[in-house]
Amino acid sequence: MDFVGENGLIVIFMLWCVFLSLATDSFLTQRNILTVLQQSAIVSIVAIGEMLVLLTGAMDVSLAAILGVSGLVAASLMINNVPPLLAVAVGVGAGGAIGLVNGLIVTKSKINSIIATLGMLSILGGLALIITQGQTIYGPALDSIGFLSSGVMAGVRAPIVVMFMLYALFSSVLSRTLFGAQLYAVGSNEKAAWLSGLRVDRIRIAAFVLAGVGGVMQVARQGSATAIMGDEFLFPILTTVILAGVSLSGGKGRLLNVLIAAIFLVTITNGMVLLGMSVNAQRVASGVILIAALSLDRLRQRGR
């Protein structure tokens, strides 16, 4: 019973998977599982960054837009014959720089982080359209980083490997490093952390920067870049961390649950496609499943 109590989300997820395996022939096939993991990769990686920010008691709603802009920057550099590695590095750097700006705005001018990053979301959306002039960026130059999406490492597609590596890395960062301890401390009680000599602002800014770095995978996934390519991730990122039970007031959250939640979300769509539901019915059902999963998880926590 303790296992169920601690791992409610995992149990609910498992039950959903068991249901899909029994109800469809194709869910529990190697091919489908790899597809699900591949589709979870980007959201789950960016959700790590969102979790870091949430742990400090802030929230970043501009991450989807940062994802789009850093991908755009990398893609436009590449089609202008900048070496791919350098272009990717600049794209990542741009994401980090935007995160830094977010962090500085939130910590120095004390604007509520949701409002500040909502502003950033709008700014980045506009900038992306200005950079691309509404055009899609594509071309053979983008193929050189194709291995990031279609490359195979140890028999598995690269994004899946990268996803698991990043989760392993950050699970150890959060539980075993000074930085991880400080993130939780700042989110648990900012004032107490400050009065214990922690550099609260710097820690929170670092979380925003790391969150901004998360997104260059996207350009590789589709082999082209558009101004609006980050938009589709806005809700999945937030839904993932909320479903994972990361506290919106800071200081609480388990990284493993974030990974499970990201995969869970993909299996909802995936499962309904396999069940042969219409697109409109899928939208209704995914809302129902999401609310049901969240309610079950919260009810279970309250019962303890």
């Binding site: 000074l178 009680n189 004032k191 952390a193 400050w194 009065l195 214990s196 000599g197």
Partner: protein, 494 residues
Amino acid sequence: MAALLQLDGISRAFPGVQALQDVTFSIEAGTVHALVGENGAGKSTLIKILSGALAADRGTLLLDGQPYQPRDPRHALRSGLATLHQELNLLPTRSVLANLTLGHEPTRYGIIDWKQARAPAHRALQQLQAEYVPLDAPLHELTLGEKQLVAIAKALLNECRVLIMDEPTAALNSAEVEALFNVLTTLKARGVTTLYVSHRLDEVFQIADAVTVLRDGRHICTTPLTATTPDDLIAAMVGRSLTNAFPPRGRHLGEVVLSVEHLSSARAFEDISFRLHAGEVLAVTGLAGSGKTELGQALFGARPIDRGQVRWFDRRESLTPVHAVAAGVGYVPEDRQTDSLLLDVAVQRNITLAVLPRLTRRLGFLDRSGERQTAHRQAEALQIKAPSLASPVRVLSGGNQQKTALAKWLAAGARVLILLEPTQGIDVGVKFEIYDLIAQLARSGTAILLISSELPEVIELAQRVLVMRSGRIVADLPGEQAEVATLLRAAAGV
């Protein structure tokens, strides 16, 4: 007299703690019955069980000879047990009348008939000699004492027979306490029984007919007040007889660790100058609003300074908590729950929070066994009572939370401690443990700045006492010459 409420073998456990164990006693009808015990003795759990907020694991309750098993607070209220928590559970933005009427509003065709509600509300306040409280004023405009009267009147309107009051005087001034005691006497005359939970033994002797002592979740004794003494009760509460002796004052003064020159902060204090030495206990006292708390905050860099200079260990860097901690200064704030502790985080991490950078190895990884050892050492030295060092600080009693707040700075090896009201809201046993700790730290060379309104501790512990009034230092006395009367006169300016 007949027993109105009988408790028989009441037990309740929480993970890792037996909060109540086989508690048996009874409360006579029409009396004021006091319930005392240290923090963590089980008083709150017992109140929660009586008021229906928690269920007992074992044991039975009899109310008027009938089995009483409250399912929830609403059920308890209908059975005639009203509980006044410290936070009072009133609606701050609604009127006094709306608060008094809440839950049994008289209605006509589903619309509240406020006219009809006024008479009983007024009568209830009248019974408490509180008819001067305006029925139409929003509750938040009342003083705390008046709010409490409203809460009691509300209980009367609910036809309560047993009134449970949890630390009702904690935030009242002495006139309000006096008024409250008059009300309790009135209630008693009307046959209402009061269960009075308090820390303050002087009040218990003033108002109660009988007293029950709990310790570590067990019932120690129930006795009429006429058959006991304060010393007996304290001994029963702490489980040993306390000599209540303050540790001897140190004499040695080391080098200057802090020099403050002409320090001013707008609307808080002005032109403060003094020096603090290693091994010294320097007390700063004064009334609420004298600026002593703000001075403590400013010295740690937690409040902006307008003019003047603060030098820790002769360093010349800017003054922020980060720099102060790096220089070896520790700070125990007045409100430990909001300003010092990570309530939902493990005791262990709370103890090591300020020393974590020094427990960090290659690549930012923490030395986990080092962290465990550090926490264990401090928890043992300060005798912090916790189910385990992995439990969240929230589950500890007030005294043990305060010890954890202190342990943080001992773990960090602080050479100076700024202590703000370090024994506020702490029971007498732990209080003296903290006094011993302060004296012992000073003997080993730690400088202590003790900012406190608790005059006995100021007088007995400090080598030197500064008194503040309206933001200025108005007296500077050697500890040996400080007396309560002198300090009070200086603090009040008479």
